[in-house]
């Protein structure tokens, strides 16, 4: 039984269902561990490196030439805010991985600036993940991960690596930046998997 805090009533209850412990915000807060990297689109590239060591690579113009999707998704940040109905455009990982042969089970994601995160490869497939480059019909701001970020909205937002640079496909799961700093290895907001042991 939770402890009742004397005198706490809370806000008006809302009708929308949010994952446990989350609150709704209309803002778009920014969470980053360091300075925002500024990446020139002319020099930007994105790569998938398979477990066999094969490198599949896209320049900015090659990425834009791929079929893109407009998606409307809810975001859930481990710092407790949720933002509903956000609009993005990007290329589905299904598209990027279409011609990639791999027997890997895990993905280790690298970002410009050195950030890393990890997730099962299955969570990147079947219309669950995108390399997104537009937010609200505008080019994605650097603060929010532009030129392009990973978008995996069914997991806490730290899995949606800003400034995504490459995805390594691996046989073994390797914890990334926050996953080694106390945060949950998988991060399902509906299971409230925030921290180690949750």
């Amino acid at each position: 039984m939770p402890v009742i805090s004397r005198g706490f009533t809370g806000r008006t209850r809302r009708d929308v269902e949010l994952p446990p412990g989350q609150y709704l915000t209309e803002d778009f807060p920014v969470l980053s561990a360091g300075p925002t990297p500024r990446i020139d689109r002319d020099r930007w590239e994105f790569a998938v490196i398979t477990d066999a060591g094969k490198r599949h690579q896209w320049t900015w113009s090659q990425l834009l030439a791929l079929p893109s999707e407009q998606v409307t998704v809810d975001l859930h940040c481990v710092t407790k805010w949720s933002k509903l109905g956000t609009q993005w455009r990007g290329v589905a990982l299904d598209t990027l991985l279409e011609d990639v042969e791999s027997a890997a089970d895990y993905a280790y994601v690298h970002a410009y600036g050195g950030y890393t995160t990890n997730l099962p490869l299955a969570d990147l497939l079947d219309g669950q993940a995108w390399v997104a480059y537009e937010y609200d019909d505008e080019p994605l701001d650097a603060e929010h991960g532009g030129p392009a970020r990973l978008l995996v909205p069914h997991l806490y937002l730290w899995k949606s690596a800003k400034w995504v640079r490459s995805i390594e496909l691996t046989h073994d799961d390797q914890p990334g930046f926050w996953e080694t700093a106390g945060y949950h290895n998988y991060g399902d907001p509906w299971q409230e998997q925030r921290y180690w042991g949750d």
Binding site: I4, R6, F8, R11, G21, Y23, K80, E138, H144, G182
Partner: protein
């Protein structure tokens, strides 16, 4: 590492730091200490079962059995408004933590003896104050603290005392709207000149911690990178929305 469970915390004391910020001393029976810079999750539950959670930086130096948080009241803040307005000594809340293994001093991967630059905007001072309070050795610390006016400065008397008594701690204020009487410096946002004058040269390879509102942290981190500081020696913690289009 074990599960971070919710623990009952009893408010032992409340100190008003500014008209809109209060420090709560929380007694937690099982609190096993923390690192300077870490935060806790706070959960409040209403009689009808409704609950709300928020994260707050820890203000106190590592100690067992108790922990202090400083809460800035935000407009419409259902949790901050309770903690820095309604709560009284003896009231009970729930906390879990400590959380976060990166925005901490000493840094997680060694080099704890390098000089430290702390840059705070508003209530972003809280985790940086934990670092100032945790500093027991001679690690040289410089703190640049940006506030709107003197009345908004949290911990000002303690910082003055520590500058006098603690060796190797310098504190410089930047006032963005109003300065105290007798202030001879400029009034305005932190700029490259102020960061160079009151911080450390990049050559000294300081460990840098920047905490404050998103726009403030973005600006300061960009200026530090432009001044030659290595990006991976700049740790940041941002709160609130982006300044421009949400």
């Amino acid at each position: 590492m074990g599960r971070l469970t919710w623990q009952v915390a009893t408010v032992a004391a409340i100190t008003e730091e500014t008209p809109s910020a209060s420090t709560l001393v929380l007694d937690v029976a099982g609190w096993s200490s923390h690192l300077a810079g870490q935060h806790v999750d706070v959960r409040l539950t209403a009689p009808d079962g409704y609950s709300a959670q928020r994260s707050y930086s820890i203000a106190s130096a590592p100690t067992a059995g108790s922990v202090e948080i400083t809460v800035q009241r935000v407009p419409d803040g259902e949790v901050s408004g309770y903690l820095a307005g309604i709560a009284r000594p003896g009231d009970q809340i729930e906390i879990r933590g400590p959380i976060g293994g990166y925005f901490v001093w000493p840094p997680p991967h060694g080099d704890g003896g390098a000089p430290v630059l702390l840059v705070a905007g508003g209530s972003g001072i809280v985790p940086l104050m934990a670092m100032v309070r945790a500093r027991a050795d001679r690690t040289p610390f410089r703190l640049i603290y940006s506030v709107r006016g003197p009345g908004d400065a949290i911990y000002a008397p303690e910082l003055s005392r520590r500058v006098r008594d603690d060796r190797g701690l310098d504190v410089a204020y930047a006032y963005t709207r109003a300065a105290p009487d007798g202030w001879h410096g400029t009034i305005g946002r932190l700029d490259a000149g102020r960061l160079a004058a009151d911080g450390w040269p990049a050559d000294f390879r300081p460990n840098v911690y920047v905490c404050g509102p998103t726009g403030f942290v973005e600006k300061v981190a960009d200026l530090l990178v432009a001044a030659g500081h290595e990006a991976d020696r700049i740790r940041t913690e941002r709160f609130g929305p982006t300044g421009g289009k949400a």
